[in-house]
Symmetry: C2
Subunit: 262 residues, 2 copies
């Protein structure tokens, strides 16, 4: 496994890999790897001859009052995990390597970037798009894997790639969950033991919403009310930003049902 | 010479040309070719093994009250000129081929896109960036040539390419002028005979500003006053949007001087 920290070096290496006919798979991460990331890396390892994992905590996608500074990091452990999975390259650039002091370009998938998560994190998805497009240009993968946990992000990246004709295949992969149903996420580390236990309500609510729909409930508002009730009975939950399942972002509920059916 | 109208076909062809080791040069145009375009095409022909000229009147870069509908077009003549210059491919997509009905992505080089021309054409440069990035992704050139006539555009495209790590070399080429000094432009067709004659005042003013600077005049405001006077003595000129030469867009005056010195 090779560690690359410089943009130019990574891009030259990738161009040369492409010339040699290698099929490049990219798993873009912010590090502090968990089984969700590892599932993407395994998928890439199966489908591609060269697998590159990028580890980059992208400052552009954090709002001014968000957790950029305390975002969990453990590079040593990440490298060990990647090595075990037989990853070929880790790309781990500094923020200054990715963004010049006079960096000034923004990539934006309009409308979808302002609803749901985007409503509460107004610069988030533009920051994601800009960084992901840079990574795609630097690493030039044939396929790039993203988790369905961040479903809105996946939809937005797919849209960006289609709109801008980026020659890459974006593959979404199923959510990986803890035994009690909580979706794996580096940020789960922030939770106190009580919060961690209470967080399972998210998955329980998704399951119960899916159940209601399967049982013929067609009134989404009623389902929302049920779910809000359950949420607010949970001490750690202070507020609900959104719970919805409308196009253009495919409903997490529908998604859950399709998972159940498979 | 091969004419391609479909995005997928062009992209597949380009990827296959790259695999064969061809060096691809792109000249992106809006058609109605003049000697300025042809000078870019000749430069590409000298430096590359495959030259692709795109002809696409990009709706995204026209404001609502601008000249999209009456922008001059003459595809038959364009094809003949390209053939004479031994161009390998013409890429001539429909607007609907470039932009899906639900197209929704925007690429923006901030700050520089709002000054000078950008002040009077607020959506112009974002439209240019978005289209040029699409063309770079579809055609995948090693080198892409742009005229220095649209100097702000050239600076912005270079910045976009650097900021987003697009693996292409952007080459700026000197302005090509009519015998009386007017920069060649497809839009010169809009000028009445009197306006056409009066338009030479632009070049005369640039020359006289450069002359003043060479003679030691360091007060840019004085030079601007001189020039405004000359402009307003010219009947066809109703107003001056801007006349400036400040960073980050390299001064046209400085540029003119450097041209004179070469």
């Amino acid at each position: 496994m090779q560690l690359i920290e410089k943009v130019t070096e990574m891009q030259e290496e990738s161009i040369s890999l492409r010339k040699k006919g290698e099929k490049i798979g990219l798993v873009a991460t912010m590090g502090y790897l968990h089984d969700g990331h590892l599932s993407l890396m395994r998928k890439a390892r199966e489908a591609c001859t060269m697998v590159i994992t990028s580890i980059f905590v992208n400052p552009l996608q954090f709002g001014p009052n968000e957790d950029l500074d305390r975002y969990p990091r453990d590079l040593k452990r990440d490298f060990e995990l990647a090595k075990k999975l037989d990853i070929d390259y880790i790309f781990n650039p500094d923020p200054g390597e990715m963004y010049d002091r006079d960096f000034n370009t923004s990539v934006s998938v309009k409308s979808i970037n302002k609803i749901m998560c985007g409503k509460y994190r107004p610069i988030h998805f533009d920051g994601v798009c800009t960084a992901v497009l840079k990574l795609l240009n630097i690493i030039q993968p044939h396929v790039s894997y993203f988790g369905e946990k961040d479903y809105q992000q996946l939809v937005i990246i797919k849209k960006m790639v289609r709109d801008l004709n980026v020659p890459v295949d974006i593959v979404g992969c199923p959510v990986v969950r803890e035994k009690d149903g909580l979706a794996m996420s580096s940020r789960n580390k922030y939770l106190s033991p009580v919060e961690r236990k209470d967080a399972t309500v998210l998955y329980m609510c998704l399951k119960s919403a899916a159940e209601s729909i399967k049982n013929g409930q067609k009134n989404l508002e009623k389902i929302k009310e049920q779910i809000k009730e359950t949420f607010f009975r949970t001490p750690s939950i202070e507020d609900v930003d959104y719970f919805r399942g409308l196009e253009p972002v495919k409903s997490r509920i529908e998604y859950f049902i399709s998972q159940q059916q498979n």
